[in-house]
């Protein structure tokens, strides 16, 4: 019984682990890989409901924490997983790289993210991070016959390994400085002892910040992102630009805002610099991209900068603004990637922005969907992106970071330029090819429709989502 009690907080992870194992088995025996995909989708969809039965509280001696905060992130991971499965079905077929392991890896990577979001101990955090990272390395190189994909995987693996080393070193130093790996005890130790002057703690802080900055692709730790995003299979790019990033933010929030909250002054400076660099480099570099995946990679970097602004604004409002932003970003980014995937056929890979020419005329509905996603990414009402930015900016201004907010809004104007360029190609340029082929795919259409509906829904009626994000932060454990 006691064991069962301890397992209840782990319901989502358990459900997904089971799904992952079942998928591995089924994949070995079933010839028609469509069935694996369908099973993955149904299983993940069913697993979402496990969130309802989760009990809150620490378990396994505080190694694992289940609270509103982790539930919110797990919801993002679920949305990301389910929509990514839908996005992948057609892509794997056209790329003729249809292996059932693909879905297992998506599922296991998601489990890793969930463990990260629930980590109450630096060891759990590290385990989750590695599970997530290893699965994503393989996913990035999933197209074995494609040189770009392999290159992306190697790059991702090397830089990822580097950041893991930094993280481990940081963890070791934290243990040295505080004598504990448990986040709660670290926080207690830090509040009881004056640790400000301890160089070991400061170095640990810098190392861990750098490691997480790698994961969220914050400048100057972003170098891997454009290449990896470009080379990886497109649905994986979409998956990677949301999941690992959100997971990175989940641990950033828990570790820095709560465990290291006494070192606030030190990490605040680091994050302000990171945030400004991330927004500026992301936005400016996106301006000159011609490859659409690269452009979205830089755009994703820029958005991480806005999320960082919320994190800097601090708890509770800033962090719930960041979480809200990540949820919204999930939908608009998946919407954009779905459109790109719709254009991906055997004969023709839509890779350049100019490949979108005339899309608005040839396929009005797809065009409108992309239009909505692009304006949402820019942050124009009544799309959800505006609500996300508004909340983050409000939190930042309230916490007194007016200058940072001014920088943020200015770069969001810069970013308008490259999102508008996509709209311009879709609606204002003549198609380069006589006939724009677009093979319909039910799964892709669903992922696109769901994203667009949520982008509009959150944009016009954000109330429930805002309350959800707010409640999630109020129910965070570790709060002193």
């Amino acid at each position: 019984m006691l064991i069962l009690q301890q397992l209840r907080p782990l319901m989502p992870e358990l459900a997904l682990s089971m799904l992952g194992l079942v998928l591995l088995l089924v994949e070995a025996f079933v010839k028609r890989k469509d069935i694996v995909a369908a099973l993955a989708f149904l299983g993940a969809f069913a697993a979402i409901f496990s969130l309802k039965f989760v009990s809150f509280g620490p378990s396994f001696n505080g190694m694992f924490i289940s609270d509103g905060y982790s539930i919110f992130f797990k919801l993002i991971f679920f949305v990301n997983l389910i929509l990514s499965i839908l996005m992948s079905v057609r892509y794997l077929k056209t790329e003729e790289s249809f292996h059932g392991e693909y879905y297992c890896l998506l599922v296991f990577s998601t489990i890793g993210m969930m463990v990260m979001a629930s980590a109450g101990n630096l060891i759990t955090l590290f385990l989750g991070l590695e599970l997530m990272a290893l699965s994503t390395y393989v996913l990035a190189g999933f197209l074995r016959h494609d040189g770009n994909s392999t290159e992306a995987a190697v790059k991702y693996f090397l830089t990822g390994g580097f950041s893991t080393a930094l993280l481990l070193y940081g963890i070791a130093l934290v243990y040295g400085a505080t004598g504990s790996m448990d986040l709660r005890q670290i926080a207690v130790y830090m509040s009881e002892h004056d640790i400000n002057g301890n160089p070991m703690a400061v170095i640990a802080l810098v190392l861990m910040a750098s490691a997480f900055a790698f994961k969220i692709a914050a400048v100057p730790f972003h170098m891997w992102a454009p290449d990896v995003y470009e080379g990886a299979p497109t649905p994986v790019t979409s998956f990677m630009s949301i999941g690992p990033k959100a997971a990175g933010f989940a641990v950033l929030g828990r570790v820095f805002l709560y465990a290291f909250c006494t070192l606030h002054v030190q990490w605040e400076t680091i994050f302000i610099v990171l945030s400004v660099l991330t927004m500026s480099v992301g936005s400016v570099m996106a301006l000159v991209q011609t490859n659409i995946k690269r452009m979205l990679a830089y755009s994703s970097i820029a958005h991480a900068g806005y999320v960082l602004v919320g994190l800097i604004a601090g708890a509770p409002e800033g962090i719930s603004a960041s979480m809200n932003y990540l949820l919204i970003y999930t939908f608009m980014n998946i919407g954009a990637f779905s459109v790109i995937l719709l254009l991906n056929t055997k004969e023709f890979k839509a890779l350049q922005i100019s490949d979108l020419s005339g899309l608005g005329r040839a396929h009005p509905l797809v065009g409108v969907a992309m239009l909505i996603c692009m304006f949402s990414l820019t942050g124009i009402p009544p799309m959800a992106g505006f609500i996300g930015k508004f909340y983050v900016f409000m939190a930042a201004v309230r916490s007194g970071y007016l200058w940072l907010t001014i920088v943020a809004v200015m770069f969001s104007v810069v970013s308008a330029f490259f999102y508008l360029r996509i709209v311009m190609y879709m609606y204002m340029k003549e198609p380069q090819r006589p006939q724009m082929v677009l093979v319909p795919s039910n799964a892709l259409s669903v992922s696109l429709a769901v994203s667009v509906v949520f982008v509009l829904l959150i944009g016009v009626m954000p109330e429930r989502f805002l309350e959800f994000a707010k409640a999630a932060v109020e129910k965070i454990l570790l709060n002193q």
Binding site: P381, P382, V409, V413, M424, L466
Partner: protein
């Protein structure tokens, strides 16, 4: 009797403005499902919707209580409780005329595009309808967040309108327009957030009676100035306007000239003056200086234009200079003149752009040098154009005269130099408009335009309502200034303190 029954509606929660905002938006969504090949169905549908919407807003004109400075036709519902945001709409004497003008302009945009838009017809009318909803929304929103939503949302269809159906250089113009206005808007957004964090409300009516500390007023004044000055456009940030106006399709130019640039001046009246009264007063001289520069600079640039649309676009810079001059002269005559001149400019410049669009549809050239002797070729058209030219110059008995006269009186009272300089702007205006008229309509018939057909019935019907307005406002302005008296007086009392009665006796009546 019937009137009384209809008018009682305006006292309680009124659905009128909500209907006027939602009808075009819903109609645009419905239009998505009309087959794009059935173009005439789409056109008639758009026309009926815009006319119906004008019908909906008629009670604003007939039932508006002119003696009250309060918000009327108010509707309010909770929207985002987490931030105390409500859906809150209503009109007062300052905004009511703009709602009416928006409804009329939308109809004209549909009729003028009837044959000139041949490509992507369905998308075009969807954009027009969405713009109409957003325009009415901007002028009736009483919640800052709601206001900002409409204000920004309007950029999307406007960007598409310029970029898809515009002239040869449309891509450049559309992006420039979008980025300029967005830059201003995001600074205003920071202002909106600051106000909310200071006062805890987005409710504009409550904010108008809230006193903010002076240094904060100053910062906010400039933050909002960034947004409004770009839209007006005021002197240093006006450069998007000639490009956007010139490249936009006729309907787009008309919306830009008649409504969109009015939003900036409306913003000064709705936000800057009542919410930051002390800052507005101390900045009035700067604003007047910028206005006078715009009047004269805009006028002089007009003298050297070779492109018909570009000339009219630059004349907007000059005319909007008059408007901001009137507003920041901070007296009864100036402000009423400013508001009236906004309506006038919407009517006149809207009409001029319609005219240019009509002739462009026939000749496919906008170069002034390609014209000449058009009065012989298109006599009816020439007559219309002449009336609007005179109204633009400000000839007595036309609406332009009333507006400019009031503004110059107001400007003179506020600052003598500004009064004198702005009066020279009227002369420059006469020079370039008459010069334009002479080059285009007189002299020998240019062979490039020989044989053009005169305006047809649809085009006459498009121009006649504006013609009526030109003379109606010109001859009997109190029918329109009457709407503003109470609200402008209340605003001035708020600005200057003092006795309402003394202010009223100063008015020109």
């Amino acid at each position: 009797m019937n009137d009384a029954v209809v008018c009682q509606v305006s006292l309680e929660q009124s659905y009128l403005l909500t209907e006027a905002i939602l009808l075009p938006v819903v109609a645009a969504l419905v239009m998505l499902f009309i087959n794009k090949e059935r173009q005439s169905v789409i056109k008639w549908f758009a026309l009926i919707v815009t006319i119906a919407n004008a019908g909906i807003v008629v009670p604003l004109f007939t039932c508006f209580d002119k003696s009250s400075a309060h918000m009327q036709f108010v509707a309010r519902y909770d929207w985002i409780k987490a931030w105390q945001i409500s859906y809150y709409v209503g009109v007062d004497g300052i905004s009511v005329l703009f709602v009416l003008l928006s409804a009329i302009v939308a109809i004209l945009c549909v009729t003028v595009s009837w044959t000139s838009v041949k490509d992507k017809v369905k998308e075009f009318y969807i954009a027009i309808l969405l713009i109409e909803g957003a325009m009415i929304g901007v002028f009736s929103a009483l919640d800052m967040f709601l206001f900002y939503m409409f204000w920004e949302a309007m950029l999307i269809p406007m960007y598409l309108l310029i970029g898809i159906w515009g002239g040869p250089n449309r891509l450049y113009a559309a992006v420039k327009f979008f980025l300029y206005t967005l830059t201003g808007s995001v600074l205003m957004l920071l202002g909106v957030i600051t106000i909310y964090l200071t006062t805890g409300t987005f409710d504009m009516v409550r904010l108008m009676s809230t006193q903010l500390p002076l240094n904060m007023q100053m910062v906010l004044f400039w933050a909002f100035f960034a947004a409004f000055a770009v839209k007006v456009p005021m002197f240093p940030v006006h450069t998007w306007l000639p490009d956007a106006h010139t490249e936009a399709p006729t309907a787009g130019s008309v919306i830009l000239a008649a409504i969109l640039i009015k939003m900036g001046a409306y913003g000064f009246l709705r936000f800057s003056l009542p919410m930051f009264p002390d800052a507005s007063q101390s900045m009035a001289t700067v604003m007047i200086a910028l206005s006078v520069i715009a009047i004269i600079y805009g006028g002089i640039i007009c003298l050297s234009q070779k492109d018909l649309k570009r000339l009219i676009a630059y004349s907007s810079v000059s005319h909007m200079g008059f408007v901001t001059l009137g507003i920041f002269s901070l007296n009864m005559q100036g402000m009423e003149g400013g508001i009236l001149q906004m309506i006038n400019h919407g009517v006149i410049t809207g009409a001029l752009f319609l005219c240019v669009g009509m002739v462009y549809e026939r000749s496919h050239t906008r170069q002034i040098s390609d014209y000449g002797g058009l009065a012989d070729v298109m006599p009816v058209f020439a007559a219309f154009f002449m009336v609007f030219t005179f109204a633009s110059i400000g000839l007595p008995a036309t609406n332009g005269f009333v507006g400019e006269f009031l503004i110059i009186v107001g400007g003179f009272t506020a600052n003598k130099t500004a009064g004198i300089l702005s009066a020279t702007g009227v002369i420059i205006g006469a020079v370039y408009m008459l010069w334009l008229y002479q080059k285009v309509f007189y002299t020998g018939v240019n062979e490039k335009i020989a044989g053009l057909s005169d305006v047809n019935l649809r085009e006459v019907i498009t121009l006649v309502p504006l013609l009526i307005l030109v003379f109606w406002i010109g001859v009997y302005p109190s029918a329109f200034t009457g709407f503003m008296d109470a609200s402008v007086t209340a605003l001035l009392v708020k600005l200057k303190g003092g006795d309402m009665h003394a202010l009223l006796t100063h008015t020109l009546k």
